[in-house]
């Protein structure tokens, strides 16, 4: 087995008295994608900044592309691309100028910098907007430009800090496709995200981080299994119809559907995908039941946190008692 492209051991960081990161271990095999999943303030950016040599940890060590982050930061910088949480583009330069500047700063030479810029703009579908000022770019275009700028030197390791936060679905999917292209060409990616779906789309493995600690690690499937995955949720107007719905849903799984009498809603873990949805829909139609609402509810970050820690990510902002709670759950999570 070759050594991992990114590995970190015991990373800790305090800001003043505030422990932002505690004893974080990570390992990303070369050519794979690790998703670092966590809510606001979990320590995702702190982790990325340490690995990208922008921040010195209080304790721990890390290597990136075979180079020690603390002892050889300059060597690390030659081998990484970083796309920060907020697109780092110069709004008063055109897209082309942004990328050419990076090329020149990387000493490609003016000519080669121009060629490389044209290549990247093409690859990231920015050729038409290449000579417009970046301040007129949409959020999605900025992100793409930012990603392109981080790839000028063809780095083998790429850090993406919340690459699609704030983007609409179309832009998000475009960006996902572009990240996948990089992965296909052999780039190792560590990406942070607040969306389970994003980790699911892009990552081979997911590490869940909360309050500066890793609380779980596994493939997206393992994680979703633990969370319960997507659920099919059906609401009806009449209480009498609810029984029909419940019976129909029960046929999907060994598990009993969850029923809420007040909202007249029944739901069940969805395993059979679109076929299951179609069969339930047909069954209800045959029985003459007109659902008020018929929806697939995707597992959210909150579901992950609820399942892993027993509290939702929003509630994790509270004080100490929950910190202990979290520690207890952490052991549980790791023993799974």
């Amino acid at each position: 087995m070759t050594e991992p492209a990114v590995s970190a051991e015991g990373l800790s960081k305090k800001y003043g008295d505030f422990q932002a990161l505690q004893d974080v271990n990570l390992s990303v095999p070369a050519g794979t994608v690790l998703g670092l999943l966590g809510p606001n303030g979990a320590g995702k950016t702190t982790t990325v900044r340490i690995l990208a040599t922008l921040l010195t940890p209080d304790a721990g060590q890390a290597t990136v592309a075979g180079q020690d982050v603390l002892r050889k930061p300059a060597e690390v910088r030659k081998r990484i691309g970083l796309t920060g949480q907020y697109a780092a583009v110069d709004a008063r330069l055109t897209g082309r100028e942004n990328i050419e500047l990076i090329g020149v700063l990387l000493h490609l030479g003016r000519k080669a910098a121009k060629v490389r810029a044209a290549e990247l703009l093409e690859q990231f579908e920015l050729t038409d907007a290449a000579d417009k000022l970046a301040k007129n770019y949409s959020g999605g275009m900025r992100r793409r430009l930012d990603l392109a700028a981080s790839l000028v030197s063809r780095p083998p390791v790429l850090f993406l800090d919340e690459p699609t936060t704030g983007l609409d679905l179309t832009s998000r999917m475009t960006l996902w496709r572009m990240v996948k292209e990089q992965v296909d060409s052999g780039v190792t990616v560590l990406l942070t995200t607040q969306y389970l779906e994003e980790a699911d789309q892009l990552a081979n493995r997911v590490a869940v981080i909360d309050k500066g600690r890793l609380i779980a690690e596994g493939t997206p499937d393992e994680l979703k299994r633990r969370v319960g995955g997507d659920r099919l949720e059906v609401s009806v107007t009449d209480t009498s119809d609810l029984a029909v719905v419940t019976t129909a849903l029960a046929s999907l799984s060994a598990e009993q559907p969850t029923v809420d009498q007040d909202s007249r809603t029944a739901s069940i873990a969805l395993s059979g995908g679109i076929k299951a949805i179609a069969s339930i829909s047909a069954e209800l139609e045959a029985a003459g039941v007109e659902p008020l609402d018929f929806a697939v509810r995707r597992s959210s970050m909150d579901d992950v946190f609820l399942a892993l820690t027993g509290h939702s990510s929003a509630a994790s902002d509270d004080g100490d008692p929950q910190q202990q709670d979290l520690n207890a759950n952490e052991k549980e999570a790791q023993s799974v």
């Binding site: 910088r77 970083l82 500047l101 981080s150 030197s153």
Partner: protein, 264 residues
Amino acid sequence: MSEVITDSFALVGRQMRHIKRMPEQLIGLTILPVAFVVVFGYLFGSAMKVPGGQSYQEYIMAGIFAQVMLSTISTTAVGVAGDLSNGIVDRFRSLPISRTSVLLGRTMSDATLCTWSCAVMAVVGYGIGWRAHEGVLKTLAAFALLVLMGFTLSWFGALLGLVLRSPETVSAMSSIIVMPLAFLSNAFIPLDGLPYWLRTIAEWNPLSTVVSACRELFGNGTGATSDALPAQYPIPGAILLLGLMLAIFIPLASRAYQKAAAAR
């Protein structure tokens, strides 16, 4: 070393593009100096008398030049804080480029803007009757000294921007810092009226030394001098003081850059 130079020039190119894109910035860089020369040089200059009978208008011009150089502190500080808050500093820091290049690119382009301001002020000054009497070389030497001061203050501005981090804080703070530098100096008033201790402070103010050096090089009359060293030898004094400031600010700013993180 040569890489530091090429990198810095690439970044100067970036700044010059900004100015091309935002001509209003260049207008600002032109209007302020013109206004200073007209208001202080022409209006006040005609209304006041300097002891010793020399023309206040000639006396004050070097002060105005130096005063405008002071504004470089906030120009650079705001620019650096802006790059910090929109992530550009993070991007540069994650690239294998030398730390000095990024700051040198910034300070060199802001010094270039100083050259522009000086040129504008010289022309307007000439228009209202200001003259240099010591020949072309000494006149150019005076402007070189002013631009060197702009460059030095730009490094101080870079340090300020990296430490204060948010552009808003920077704009608020830089005027507070500039104020005593500007007024506790001989830029607008002869210092012989001040109490001894205040006068000593004002004479050791690098701004006063540069202003005295320029007055000497322009042949504009230095006014009464005291026995404070920088007042007696203004030209070597100015070069030494600016050199000393560079020797302090460059390493401090580079270190701040190394640890720079955007304000939260």
